[in-house]
């Protein structure tokens, strides 16, 4: 069950100014940080095998504080959701349907998210597993096709703007990987708890390798300057690739796949978020919350007024969110250690792996 963040679309836009030509290394560093977060989440999962995030927090910090932490998690998810959906809608709007009002795209997008959330995490996970392979295949294909167009010399100098910006960029990239914390919220639905952290790690690793390749190729094809000028560098990259004489401008097909990945990711975040709200409120069924929360999400996604503002917000979010994503599992783990509640830990039986 891999729900991995496919936030590489605009990633280059944020990374390249920070790390220059070495943006692709930044992405890899981010991947490493993300792997760490996945490991933390896996440890938590082993400790609380059948708790949601709110449940964990309540067990560790007591009910009131736990609920508060749950709410911060919901807030985090909401921001991810709002920004993510805005970003996706924008990409679709710009690349696909410039004459269609974005509201329409946005509502179709949300309808799908609502449907996915209604069906539950299993459906989302299964579909993402299938789409995961499709996305990977299409990216490999794209990369192979991009090789003739790429100019590796543009990657020089390797360290780019220096070591500090490199690491800084790494943290920026990590915020995408960090979104895997949301997995914490539905770890209790996993059949194979021990496989969870491995699956997460795989997801993060693949996501980050993809991000790194995409960024690297973006730089190779457009150059640092070029990237700073366009909105969605990966799209531009794809645009330069053609399938022989058959399909020109493969970016649309590519974007279609990417859209599905983003949709699945946001649906998972949405699901994590509403189940957490349901936990905080003590509801047994999360489904009544779907519609109100979807409205909230739409409202959030409309806060940035322009495309540029969206990216400003995105940049800001990316700067800080990684700390939250690290702090949350660390705090939970430390709290659990202090409390010494070692229930479950090793006795997790690995039933049918999924």
């Amino acid at each position: 069950m891999i729900v991995f963040a496919t936030g590489f679309l605009a990633a280059a836009r944020i990374l390249v100014p920070a790390a220059g030509t070495a943006a692709w290394i930044s992405a890899l560093i981010g991947g490493a940080i993300g792997l760490g977060i996945a490991g933390l989440a896996g440890m938590l999962a082993a400790r609380f095998p059948d708790q949601g995030l709110v449940g964990m927090a309540e067990r560790v910090f007591g009910a009131p504080l736990g609920k508060l932490i749950g709410l911060t998690f919901v807030a985090y998810c909401s921001v991810v959701l709002g920004l993510g959906s805005r970003e996706s809608v924008l990409a679709i709007w710009i690349a696909f349907l410039q004459t269609t009002p974005p509201v329409l795209i946005s509502s179709v997008f949300y309808l799908l998210i609502i449907y996915a959330a209604y069906l539950g995490i299993e459906a989302i996970a299964r579909v993402s597993l299938i789409f995961f392979s499709l996305v990977v295949i299409s990216l490999v294909l794209l990369t192979a096709l991009a090789i003739p167009v790429a100019a590796p010399t543009r990657l020089l100098p390797i360290v780019g703007n220096g070591l500090r910006p490199l690491i800084h960029g790494g943290f920026l990239a990590a915020s995408y990987a960090a979104e895997s914390v949301v997995v914490l919220a539905f770890i209790r639905h996993l059949k194979d708890k021990r496989g969870a952290s491995r699956a997460m790690a795989t997801g993060v690793a693949v996501g980050m390798v993809v991000m790194s390749t995409a960024t690297g190729f973006g730089v190779m094809m457009l150059g640092v300057r070029g990237i700073s000028r366009v909105t969605f560098p990966v799209l531009e990259t794809a645009r330069m690739v053609g399938f022989g004489q058959f399909l020109e401008r493969a970016e649309i097909l590519f974007l279609a796949l990417w859209f599905s990945a983003a949709l699945l990711k946001l649906a998972a975040v949405f699901y994590a978020s509403i189940t957490s709200v349901a936990d905080v409120l003590g509801l047994r069924d999360y489904r009544p919350l779907i519609i109100p929360y979807a409205l909230l999400g739409t409202a959030l996604s409309l806060i940035p007024k322009t495309v540029l503002e969206t990216f400003d917000y995105l940049g800001m979010f990316v700067k800080y969110s990684v700390w939250y994503a690290i702090a949350l599992p660390v705090a939970l783990l430390i709290g659990a250690l202090v409390r010494g509640s070692r229930r479950g830990g090793e006795s997790v039986s690995d039933r049918d792996a999924r």
Binding site: L97, L104, I105
Partner: protein, 613 residues
């Protein structure tokens, strides 16, 4: 009369060499029959005290013995109304139950040549009961047999005379003594015959089925080039026999059930004991038990009653006309359901991948089987999305195409007065019309009709300027692609979903198409068939590559598919072709390397190994 009593009357013949008699603590007792076992299982019988073998007895003594056993024998059947004491009473009652004017209900009065003679009446339905059996078993054995005169009818009580007839007179394999007239009628309506004896409170019912039916023919819906040509027919017993013949394991179970208040349709639930997951069998039986309906004309109705998501466009049970496919399913741990009167047997659970499999994939060598399977998945994708893709690209994303192609499309669309969407819908509807009409028409006409319709209509529509030639190509390819899917309802589902996708892509371009596909994918992700996720076999890349989207060689199918959760995962030995030195060497290395778990050893042969534990 204890154990080991000698046979006094050697002329007497009974198919059974001896009898088992049981006695209850409450003094209940009777012949050891299947019915007794059933009662034992149900808990009606409290700890039977003794079960002893008794050799064949002379009639008189047998009658005495039965005397004590008789009444308890059918006590569970006594719920219906009893059989009237006189034959006239019986006849009146039967006329009440079966109506006056049915000429096919035969009540034949006869005299049994005992000493003294007894009046009797034979009841059967003409057409359901075989004339031969009636003549041979009933009439001959009762009226002509030479040993009947030795039977001292006066010594037999009213209560046990029927039992004696059952054990000693009527030579039939399936025979029972019933004491409720409603039950008797129920049996007679399934093709059995009943012998009422004057004065007896019980009646002998014996098997006499023999009706006209269609013979075994080649299956019409699942044609193969290579493979067996036998198909199921409407007759339940013939179908179960076809299955038995191919699956001779003693573990094959055919549990029988009845559905339909009026039709009382027989159903056989087939599975392999020790292989099929008992939970699955129980679920299916429970769901069938819940069906409360008037008649069950076909297995399709049963499918709709029992499936998880009746509102989903996707079928959730497999059906097949082919006994070979049915048996293959059973051997993978599926549960088969055969409905009397339907040549289509059901198999559950179904999943998306199973609907893309044709038995021919396995009968033909694997170098052809694999690509054929993959071709079907590709053609499903074409059937689902091709018109929508065309509409989306030609309306929204012309820049995706090479300039020449875009110009050609635009040029061909020039004379067409309709928007692309209308054009596409027009052609799609026309295609569906041709398809439907050629299904309804008689076979030879239907095919001609299809060709003529498609060719003429397409050509005329193009030359009239109503549709562009490219659209005709698109729709024709789509139509062809949709017919490659071996499971008809899946093809229907795909054809049905094509229309919303078409509308969506005309509305929002590729984004709309993707949104629609995502909705379908999510729906499939949530779908289950008897609790088994619909996409299950696609979830793991290795098994999926081995026998889902591709078919690997048969000697690599070491494990059964997991989705039906069979109790026994291992289908065959891992190394079979050990007459080949390399394989033999590998097989020798195997146990040393990784023990019994075959994850590791499979690695070196890319297609091996049921990985994933």
């Amino acid at each position: 009369m204890g154990v080991g009593e000698t046979i006094v009357s050697p002329t007497l013949f009974s198919p059974r060499m001896g009898r088992l008699i049981w006695k209850d603590r409450r003094g209940d007792g009777g012949v050891f029959t299947v019915r007794f076992l059933r009662r034992l299982v149900r808990g009606d019988v409290r700890r039977p005290r003794m079960i002893l073998v008794r050799p064949l007895l002379p009639l008189e003594e047998a009658a005495d013995g039965m005397g004590t056993a008789g009444p308890g024998h059918e006590s569970s059947e006594a719920s219906g109304s009893p059989i009237p004491g006189t034959l006239d009473g019986v006849e009146r009652r039967l006329r009440d139950l079966l109506g006056e004017g049915s000429p096919d209900v035969i009540m034949r009065r006869l005299v049994i040549w005992t000493n003294p003679e007894i009046d009797a009446m034979l009841l059967y339905i003409e057409g359901l009961a075989s004339r031969d059996i009636i003549n041979l078993i009933a009439l001959r054995s009762v009226m002509l047999a030479e040993r009947v005169p030795t039977l001292d009818a006066s010594a037999l009580g009213r209560d046990n005379i029927a039992s004696v007839f059952m054990t000693h007179v009527v030579p039939s394999g399936q025979i029972a003594v019933l004491s409720s007239i409603d039950k008797v009628v129920e049996h007679v309506l399934t093709g059995e015959a009943a012998l009422f004896i004057d004065g007896a409170r019980q009646c002998v019912v014996f098997e006499a089925k023999g009706w006209e039916h269609r013979g075994i023919e080649e299956p019409h819906t699942e044609k193969v080039v290579r493979g067996p040509r036998e198909g199921f027919s409407e007759l339940l017993r013939a179908n179960t026999a076809l299955v038995r013949r191919r699956l001779r394991t003693p573990d094959l179970r055919m549990d029988s059930m009845k559905v339909g208040r009026r039709s009382k349709t027989d159903i056989a639930i087939a599975y392999v004991e020790g292989l099929t997951n008992p939970r699955l069998v129980a679920t299916i039986k429970e769901r069938i038990d819940h069906i409360d309906t008037d008649i069950l004309p076909d297995s399709g109705v049963l499918e709709e009653f029992t499936e998880d998501y009746p509102y989903s466009p996707f079928p959730q049970m497999q059906y097949t006309e082919r006994p070979d496919r049915f048996c293959a399913g059973l051997s993978e741990g599926l549960v088969g359901i055969i409905v009397d009167g339907s040549p289509m047997a059901l198999m559950a659970p179904g999943n998306l991948a199973s609907f893309f499999q044709s038995p021919e994939d396995y009968y033909e060598r694997f170098p052809y089987g694999g690509p054929l399977r993959a071709l079907r998945f590709i053609s499903a994708a074409i059937a689902l999305t091709f018109p929508a893709l065309y509409v989306a690209i030609s309306l929204f994303h012309q820049e995706m195409l090479p300039t020449k192609l875009a110009l050609a499309i635009a040029g061909s669309h020039m004379p067409v007065p309709f928007p692309v969407l209308v054009e596409a819908l027009l052609m799609e509807v026309a295609l569906e019309l041709i398809r439907e009409s050629s299904v309804r028409l008689p076979d030879p006409v239907g095919q001609t009709m299809g060709f003529v319709g498609a060719l003429l209509l397409g050509d005329a529509a193009v030359s009239a300027g109503l549709v562009s030639p490219i659209m005709v190509i698109v729709v024709a390819v789509t139509g062809l692609a949709s017919f490659t899917i071996p499971h008809y309802p899946t093809g229907l589902a795909i054809r049905l979903l094509r229309f919303p996708l078409l509308l969506l892509s005309a509305w929002l371009g590729l984004f709309g198409l993707m949104a629609g596909l995502m909705a379908i994918a999510l729906h499939l992700g949530a779908l289950t068939s008897f609790g088994v996720p619909y996409l299950e076999p696609l979830m793991k890349p290795r098994p999926a590559l081995r026998d889902v989207v591709w078919r690997s060689p048969v000697f690599t199918f070491n494990k059964r598919p997991e989705y039906a959760e069979p109790l026994d995962q291992v289908r065959q030995k891992k190394f079979i072709r050990t007459w080949k030195p390399e394989v033999a060497a590998k097989a020798r290395k195997e146990p040393r390397k990784g023990g019994s778990d075959d994850g590791e050893g499979g690695e070196d042969r890319g297609d091996r190994g049921g990985h994933g534990r």
